[in-house]
Symmetry: C3
Amino acid sequence: MPIITLTTDFGLTDEYVGVMKGVILSINPRAVIVDISHNIDPQDVTQAAYVIKSAYRYFPAQTVHVIVVDPGVGSDRAVIALRYDGHFFLAPDNGVLSFLLNNDKIEAVIRVENSRYFLKDISWTFHGRDIFAPVAAYISMGVKLEDIGNALDPVHLVQLEIQKPKISLPGEIVGTIIAVDRFGNLITNIDVNVIRFLGAEALTAIDVWIGGKKISGISKSYNSVDSGHPLSIIGSRGYLEIAVNCGNAADKLEARKGDAVRLRVSSA
Amino acid sequence: MPIITLTTDFGLTDEYVGVMKGVILSINPRAVIVDISHNIDPQDVTQAAYVIKSAYRYFPAQTVHVIVVDPGVGSDRAVIALRYDGHFFLAPDNGVLSFLLNNDKIEAVIRVENSRYFLKDISWTFHGRDIFAPVAAYISMGVKLEDIGNALDPVHLVQLEIQKPKISLPGEIVGTIIAVDRFGNLITNIDVNVIRFLGAEALTAIDVWIGGKKISGISKSYNSVDSGHPLSIIGSRGYLEIAVNCGNAADKLEARKGDAVRLRVSSA
Amino acid sequence: MPIITLTTDFGLTDEYVGVMKGVILSINPRAVIVDISHNIDPQDVTQAAYVIKSAYRYFPAQTVHVIVVDPGVGSDRAVIALRYDGHFFLAPDNGVLSFLLNNDKIEAVIRVENSRYFLKDISWTFHGRDIFAPVAAYISMGVKLEDIGNALDPVHLVQLEIQKPKISLPGEIVGTIIAVDRFGNLITNIDVNVIRFLGAEALTAIDVWIGGKKISGISKSYNSVDSGHPLSIIGSRGYLEIAVNCGNAADKLEARKGDAVRLRVSSA
């Protein structure tokens, strides 16, 4: 059965998400619709970019991923459809697919233009309902991207400026907190491959500094430290995270999105 | 596949919504269940009435829409099933279907009475589980409304007093903010058909006043004004909305549900 | 169609729940996945235990219930699969299944060990994705528990210390508020069977005391008292609840989780 995932900033209070599902099921009654998140911070394109990058690969090939974080709705910003790594992505051209645009897994990109696949009346404020939902439904039924619009060169697409961690000193990496999850875990932009640059013998030989506080060694489980104590760990997205065992690191360490995190090989 | 939508004030923390789905799937394993909202403000029948009115038409005909915002649960308030515009609706008789009761699209109304279609034990507090969920499942399987209860005359059903906008002066309409969505957009009760009464040459020739502040012209996209500036626009429900481009109008304009909004043709 | 329910403390903002669904559907495309709650308070194993106990029986037999409230993730805590009362349960061995471990409805318990049914790479922080989701998918496809791990004796499983109500005086029961739901209803640990010990002629002959305030008689509907007034009632879980008609009892009575509630036969 064809799967369509939804990632939006619509929240779950208003009828917006339910309406998108109604439109999809009206066109493709066999679609299986899965919510990834509807609680992206309003207009936070970067947050949505990390979420879809982290989530898509756990779905079957051919899944259609719809991302509607779209502050430019109703303007002349393009809607794009992308085939990448065996999956389909449908999103506004505002950088939300930045992580999927910079390598050779791109199989096709088009500008969504064929109004035959839209609802009849297009509102000024809710293209999630009027364009994204119906186009996703048709893609899930096998309509070809080339029928929906003309090919684009990916170099012309909007790209987010993604903050990357820096090697600031020999043996030091400086990264940034890019998200705080429900548990108060601080998710950084420092992934495992970057940490290798430190050349440490083991993850336990790396110290993590945040806000003047040192955490010794990267742990392998939350309860490797006592309850209430901070630790660092490689999180499920493959990035360094700072957590508090059975607690909330954002509160405990008074840290938040944008704060700096430093890694150093511990001095023996 | 038969679709059942759910609109409740149960929230998503307690097990209530999941339990309703379990009951439905126990009876009709083929039902596709779609959440419209479970975050209706507790007991806010009016909010639910606007939500279901705005959402239902985007689902296929024959969809069963279940609305459980039910402060009178356990009392002698009736549960009603309505066939309207090709869809089914199941709700307490408390006005939540008010927008669907005043015209000729009504095809049938019954009082839900046949306990054969209920769970065996009826609790005092959770008819969503014990009555609404099983009856919805049976309707989705083709059980006829006449088997579930006796016909009612719609004139005897509870009706909400819905605030309507007023033509207060020649060339002036006064409406009310009826909802604030997740983005802080202020949704009014002034629909496009009412705006036509102003006889303006174009929507851009209409000024919108809120809390002493004037917004010139009704826009066609959020970013028709600079980021952080207010605008008015026809929203996805077909009603006038007041928004702030890339911002939160409720915060910026210190406005909330119940506040007045005035429309005037702009003086040339 | 096989049903899998999910109960977690992951929230609905991060991608975690969506990712679990992607993993499940990648293995068993026919699975119907139902959310029970993802808003369990972080690491609140007791809250999750009450939720799954209250919810599971409303699903069809053979349903696979997955509970991931798992502060010990990445440590050597076991993952267990239980067959109980015709349903399957998959959870960490941390007491979250306590209510299902103390009687003769247990049909089988195993320790989940066969990594053939896990994702290839096991993270340190997200066994919901790497172990629970794939194992649940395989169980829903008919894989036998004995293929997934070795049998355990239930007496060795972790059990929560569940607070039970006490008969403190002849004719008096003292219980505790164990949860506050979205409506502000105060859910106690006093179930109907315990109330029978009072030997009252009728529920209306029992007074309920909370924080020095007396509520006379146990009601049969919320609106048996005037709007804004407190009442007690047998809630949908079968436990005594304290509510305010069209209001919020937690706010009105300044009560919260852990507070004591007393029941006495009213003095005639």
